[in-house]
């Protein structure tokens, strides 16, 4: 049985998938083909994930065994659960082996060079909002966790496929998103999901690194007009710290990093209602911040001249 080995540079994360299972290799490649590295080489951080099919000695039943640089990580029975667990294995590798990054439970995007993070727990609508904003020309950095560079406080992109729950599909279809064409998988925590590559939304959808200028904490409130309320830097730091996956790695240093982020950006609580109105509000916020940056940049540019 031949073993396929393919290497991808997905934003700042290098992934090599090794598997003798053609369906798994093909499904992963369908999501990440634009990131495939023909040279097999990647940037600084690269992880290898291997998927094998084995048979249990005890029960005789077949299962899929997903291992990574971390350890033996997952065993699943159904093929439909393999790819979400491959993503999970990569997430564990990032958390353990990319110590330069603070990981927040947040979606991350950029617009006009403004880095935006949307922290929130499961069910806060991060992915839905990120997908809708991407369809309106925003650039996508990640949907489940934002990687923050601890040196300069910028968003570091890891544009993995957006994990769209079936409950959000109709709404996102109304935004013209090609969710019907996205393959269906199964996640233990979310049920049936579609994995939607950002480049399927538009060709130029993937973000570059950007300084965080806007932090928005969403709360879904159906049926209301969306609005925002400003937050103090300390409130913002506290809420970000609650969403930080690797807080215990950095401990107090994480608070210092988040404090630098919060004091150099705008933070808001967002009461999000109808998706289109929420996107309009997000557009206005970014336009305001981008204009504010231009106003403040002008005197420096003039004096430099």
């Amino acid at each position: 049985m031949s073993v396929e080995r393919a290497t991808y540079q997905i934003g700042s994360v290098g992934v090599t998938l090794v598997t003798p299972i053609a369906e798994v290799a093909a499904a992963y490649d369908a999501l990440y083909a634009p990131f495939r590295m023909s040279s097999g080489r990647t940037d600084e951080a690269s992880f290898e994930v291997r998927v094998d099919r084995r048979r249990s000695r005890r029960t005789g039943l077949a299962h899929y065994h997903i291992t990574s640089d971390v350890e033996d990580v997952f065993t699943v029975r159904r093929l439909s659960r393999v790819l979400p667990h491959v993503e999970g294995a990569i997430n564990l590798c990032i958390a353990r082996y990319m110590p330069r990054y603070l990981l927040l439970h947040a979606a991350a995007l950029t617009r006009e060079g403004v880095g935006v993070i949307i922290p929130g727990g499961p069910g806060f609508g991060k992915t839905t909002l990120a997908a809708a904003l991407t369809s309106r020309g925003w650039k996508y950095a990640s949907d489940e966790f934002a990687m923050i560079d601890t040196v300069d406080g910028s968003i570091v992109p890891y544009p993995k496929a957006l994990s769209v729950k079936t409950g959000s599909m109709d709404l996102l279809k109304s935004f013209g998103l090609p969710v019907d064409a996205a393959p269906t998988f199964d996640r233990a925590d979310k049920g049936a999901i579609r994995l939607l590559p950002a480049r399927a939304i538009h060709a130029d959808a993937v973000a570059s690194s950007a300084r965080i200028r806007l932090v928005v904490f969403p709360a879904l409130t159906p049926g209301v007009e969306p609005d925002v309320a400003p937050m103090s830097p300390a409130e913002s730091v506290f809420e970000m710290s609650r969403r930080c996956f690797n807080l215990l790695r950095f401990r107090a240093e994480a608070i210092g990093i988040l404090s630098r982020v919060a004091t150099s950006c705008h933070s808001y609580r967002l009461r999000s209602g109808a998706l289109e109105a929420t996107c309009n509000l997000m557009d206005r916020l970014v336009q305001f911040i981008a204009a504010d940056r231009r106003r403040h940049a002008r005197p420096a540019a003039l004096s430099a001249a």
Binding site: S232, P233, A234, E235, L248, I255, G256
Partner: protein
Amino acid sequence: METRVTPVESVMTNRTHRPLARREGLQVFPLDDEAIVYDLARDTVHYLNFTARSVWEYCDGVRSPADIARILAAELADPDAAFGEDLRRDIESAVEALQNDGLLRPCA
């Protein structure tokens, strides 16, 4: 009849209580007039709004919550006596919260 005294009431009725802020094992990040405190012993993060931060800074083991309320009322230049009573209650609640969060030394 049994009367239960809640922790908040116990602080409010204990007029001799002189809270003392714990400083060791904490890293403080002042942000404007608020602060984030990281407890290195418990790996917990605390958000102190303006009132909580002020109260914590005045907890020197000498002043009572009522003393702290008077100082803050003067700082806020609040001429409203009713607000002053509210402030005193806020201060006592803040002391109780700080105590529960381990940001004050245990009562002697």
